[in-house]
Amino acid sequence: MARMALRADASRYLLGYVWWLLEPLLFVAVFYVVFELILDSGRGDFLVFLMCGKLAFIWFSKSVNQASNSIPANKGLIGRINVTKTLFPLSVIQEGLYRQMAVFLLLFSFLFVSGYSPDPTWVYLLPIILVNYLMIVACSFIGAGLVCMVRDFSMIISLGMTFLLFTSGVFWDVRALGDPDKTAMVLALNPLAFILDAYRQVLMHNTAPDWLHLFQIGLGSVALLIIIVLLMRRSSQFLALRALS
C-alpha cells in the first residue's frame, strides 16, 4: 500500500525532474554569494565545505517541513479511507529520499571534479546517511502529528528549520569555533550539527565519525519513532477528525 503511494508520488515529480538538482544548487549558489563573495569566508575550500553541509541540510529541512503538513494536505483521502496516518509523512519522505539520491550523486561528482577522489572511507557515509534518514523520519512524524493536532505548529516548525540552519554549522565550521568546549557542546546538543560535520569529516578529510555518538543519535531516533508510530496508530480516527474539522 505504502509502496504504491510512493511510486505515485515519484511519478508526480518526474515532471519537475530538473528541479531535483536545480533547487538545492540554487540554494548553494545563494549561500556562496553571501558567505564567500560578499563576506569572504577565508577558506579556500568553501564551496566544497558548503555543499557537503548544505545539501544534507536541505534534505532534512525540506522533508521535515513538507512531511509536517502532509496530513492536513491529504484531507481528501483521509476523509474517504481509513488509513494509517503515518502513510502521508512517509510518502513525502520517500520522495525526498529519491531526490536526495540524485543530489548525493551530484555531490560526489562535484567532489571528484574538485580533486577529492573517492576513498574507501566513503563507505562510512552509509551509516551516516542511514542515521540522517532516521532523524528525518522521526522529526517528520512528530511534526506531522503536531500540525494535524494544531495547525499553528506549522509556523513553529518552519521557524525551527531557520533556527537549525543557523545553528547547525551549515555555512560555518563547528570545528573552527576556537574553543574546543564550545565545539563539543554544539555537537552534543545539536544532532544535526553532528551529522553535517560527520559528512564533512568523511568526504573532505577521510576521517571516521564518532561511532558511539552516531549510534546514540540513531537509537534515539528509532526510539522516538516507535513511540510516535504507536501513538498515531492508536489515534488514527482522532487525527482524521482533527484533519477534517
Partner: protein, 234 residues
Amino acid sequence: MSGGDREVMLALENVSLSYHSSRKSFDHGSHHVLDSVSLQVYEGETLGIIGRNGVGKSTMLRLMAGILAPTSGKVWQRPGKTSSLLTIGLGFRPDLSGRDNAMLAAMLQGASARQARSYLEEIKEFSELGDSFEERVKTYSSGMLARLGFTTALKTHVDILLIDEVLSVGDAQFREKAEAAMKSRISSDQTVVFVSHMEGQVREICNRAVCLYKGAILAEGDPADVLKAYNDIG
C-alpha cells in the same frame, strides 16, 4: 420495514459525535454533529439517507466507513467485510493522473497491485474519460471527478458501498448510466448506503430510507414515507 431476516452488515448503536472547533473557547466551541443515533444496515439493501445540508449525513457515512470514531456509542461492522466511501471531488491527489488516482484508491481499499491494475481499463472505459484518464486530476471538471470517483468505487469490489452525493453531479447521460450500474449492483446483492439530495433517486433506488434532522433520526422506513416526512420539515 427492515431487511426482514437478512443479516446486519453494519450497525450504529447510540452513536454521538461532537468536536471542539478550535477557535472558540471550551463549551461554546463544542459542535454536536450526531446525537445518539442508532441504525442498522442489512445485507443487500440500499439504504438512502436524506436530510438538509450540514445535518450530519456525510459524518454518518464517515463513521460507517471507520474513518472517524464516535465520541460515544459503537459502530459495528460485520467482521471480514470491506466498505468504501465514495465522495465527489475530494479524495483525489490533484497532481496525479486519473489512472494513478484510480490505482491508488483501489490499493488503499485493499486491492493488490495486480488486482488494481486489472480494474484500470474497465474504469477508463466506463468513466468515458478517454485520454483525460492519463491527465492530471487537477485539470478535471467536477463532472469528470464524479465519473472517476463513482467508477473507481463501482469497479473495485467492496462489500458495503457508501455513496455521498456522487450521483448528483455529472451530466444527465452519465447519471443515467451510473444509476443503471447501481441498480444492477443492487440486484446482485450489493449493500449500499446512499446519501442524496435528489428525491427521485432515493425513491427509485432505495429499499429503505432514513431522514436525519438536527443530528438525530427523524423518520425511518419506506422511502416514500420518509421523503414525505422530509418535505414536511419545510
